[in-house]
């Protein structure tokens, strides 16, 4: 992995993450530190794709750690490498089935693209198709017995 350029929430070096933690009203409920290794660009793009994915995943980690803390767990620190973040922007490309790739292949479907609109040189059409979305219901495990 990148193995360099560690930036820390505790040292005030992850401002976008700190902003999101504030939006979720979790500031003060997460006692550990969050660390991101590496920085963009890690792939050719004007956007900060690795940092974006890494920040979103670290935010989920912070929220989980806050629940862990409020339920009596020891404060946990979180870290993540930006290359993992880049991979997790397209996780379907890493799915394998009995030794063979199992990609959804949406990028190979002809209509999933950007097309020039006829007689409107500055307008483009985007088309896409996919499977219908579905429901999920979640129930937590029974609350464990209080610690003595």
């Amino acid at each position: 992995m990148t193995g360099k350029g560690a930036r820390s929430l505790g040292r005030g070096e992850l401002e976008p993450l700190a902003d999101l933690i504030g939006q979720l009203e979790l500031t003060g409920h997460f006692s550990g530190d969050a660390v991101m290794y590496g920085s963009d660009p890690v792939i050719r793009s004007p956007h900060r794709l690795g940092e974006a994915s890494c920040t979103a995943l670290l935010l989920a980690g912070v929220a989980g750690a806050a629940i862990w803390e409020v339920r009596g767990g020891t404060p946990a620190g979180i870290s993540m490498d930006i290359i993992h973040g880049l991979h997790h922007l397209h996780p379907t490309h890493y799915v394998g089935h009995s030794g063979y790739p199992s990609s959804v292949g949406a990028e190979c479907v002809a209509v999933n693209g950007i097309f020039q609109a006829p007689q409107r040189p500055h307008a483009r059409r985007v088309r896409s198709r996919g499977a219908p979305h579905q429901f999920a219901v979640v129930r937590r495990h029974p609350r464990p017995a209080p610690r003595r």
Partner: protein, 233 residues
């Protein structure tokens, strides 16, 4: 997590293998009152309800956040994600990741003055939205544990793409040495399932003082009854 799907509109096998590890999977056909009653009962006893249907679909089946909160036995966290947001003229429009990339202006910036382009790994908004949804749901569960009540977590694909743009743009002209594709080695995990060996990315986060659970469960759609596992085992 109990995944409810129609017996008539299954996702593809590749989608299923990629996103359903760890879940219980049951069928319900919500056009029939018996199945609809089972859905309401599940929702009434759930901690979290997640739906990425358009609002009109949730309304047709009586699965709007206010309705589920009113019937919830313990307070519920309702996660809803749409293509273009929960208000405004496009709130009822369907859309996928790439629609959001284009509508938000992400694709225009990615094209750098030329034709618009998708993310170099094709995906963007689906994943950012999913990770934000997980964070938002857990934040709401944390708040419910402290204050009680029911909460709605709202997300949209377009807003996620806009957030990525808000992080600021890089000088693409200075990226001649940066790879155009994601060719970095990846850490993966494999589980033995009813389908055979299924491989996927390893969890990306490392925690101190906290061991994450692992799962080897991946079953076909409809393999489980529409009830909580603790009530059927």
């Amino acid at each position: 997590m109990l995944h409810i799907s129609s017996p008539w509109f299954a996702d593809t096998l590749a989608q299923h293998l990629g996103v359903d590890a760890g879940k219980y999977d049951a069928y319900l056909d919500l056009r029939y009152e018996k199945d609809m009653a089972a859905m309401r009962q599940l929702a009434a006893t759930a901690d979290v309800f997640a739906s990425t249907y358009r609002p009109a679909v949730n309304e047709r089946f009586g699965l709007l956040p206010e309705q589920l909160a009113a019937a919830s036995e313990r307070g519920i966290v309702y996660m809803s994600a749409s293509a273009y947001g929960h208000s405004g003229p496009w709130q009822d429009r369907p859309g996928f990741d790439q629609n959001a990339q284009v509508a938000s202006g992400f694709a225009m910036a990615e094209g750098q003055g030329g034709p618009p382009k998708f993310s170099p790994v094709f995906y963007l908004a689906d994943l950012i939205t999913g990770y934000f949804a997980a964070a938002g749901v857990m934040a709401a569960l944390h708040r419910r544990a402290v204050e009680g009540g029911s909460y709605q977590v709202k997300l949209s694909l377009a807003r996620s793409a806009m957030w990525v743009q808000e992080l600021g743009l890089l000088d693409a002209a200075a990226q001649a040495e940066v790879p155009e594709t994601d060719s970095y080695p990846a850490e993966t995990v494999s589980i033995d399932t009813a389908y055979g060996t299924v491989t996927s990315l390893a969890p990306p986060l490392t925690f101190t003082n906290l061991t994450l659970p692992a799962t080897d469960r991946l079953v076909p759609y409809g393999a489980d009854p529409p009830s909580w596992p603790s009530e059927t085992s």
